[in-house]
Point group: C2
DNA sequence: AAATAAGTTAGCTATATGGCTAAGTATCTT
DNA sequence: AAGATACTTAGCCATATAGCTAACTTATTT
């Protein structure tokens, strides 16, 4: 049995990415893995199907899947000789909300700065 | 002069993250670098100031800044002996929109996922 | 029962990444 | 002019990452 690709009993869904933006971003930093995610948003797929479009050896590809699964982005279960992989939406949402927060803060600062700029401009006029 | 930390004449700005989600996610996968970003959203800062809270050697820290700058997330300019670093918002927005797109595609359940993202954001605040 | 399909495990290689120290350069400050 | 500041460069080390081949284990098919 796949030592890594077995997600029963692990990660209660959210525990993973609340703190682990590390593993999330790490997982997403590889083009192959991002492609897998892009494929999986449109539905679950077997390992071999996911592998097909990528010109790398199967074991290499499997390791990418491991990374995705360990980061909580994906889950899989095996039935017969076929392992089916599906996406886990929560981490995507979590990362998005982190980015949103940062952007909001940045924009908030801009607003304050533009107000400051305005008041300075007025003061200079007067 | 800093061979890498010199962003005059470079600024990929937009060209960078349209294709290069790679470098973006790679840059964000390190906790030190994410901390720098979190610090920078509230305004520009000198290298030494950014370095202070991190318990790593300055040269090591500088390399993190390089990575951030090469990924387009950050820019810097030197005046006298002080190098000031500021955030570049576009890449954050680009990554966010990529995530949004994936999320939206995921089984087309945009509304449910937005709610999820919100609840995660709230949980993180609390 | 034999062959094929779909993973899985083991083990090797090369490059990237993150951390360090030591020493150098270019500004201020005194 | 001397010393302190604020990086910058160079170079070394350990671990992680991404890729490969070869061989193995279960299912399914034939």
């Amino acid at each position: 049995m796949a030592k890594y690709l077995d997600s029963r009993r692990r990660h209660p869904l959210l525990s993973h990415m609340t703190n682990n933006l590390d593993t999330f971003f790490g997982a997403m930093s590889d083009p192959t893995r991002r492609a897998v995610i892009e494929r999986l948003v449109s539905g679950p797929a077997a390992v071999s199907e996911l592998h097909a479009p990528h010109d790398i050896a199967l074991p290499t590809f499997m390791r990418h899947l491991m990374v995705l699964e360990e980061s909580g982005l994906v889950r899989s279960e095996k039935k017969g000789r076929v392992r089916t992989v599906h996406i886990e939406a929560a981490p995507l949402a979590a990362a998005e909300s982190w980015l949103q927060k940062q952007r909001a803060m940045w924009e908030g600062r801009l607003d304050r700065l533009s107000l400051l700029a305005e008041s300075i401009a007025k003061a200079e006029k007067g």
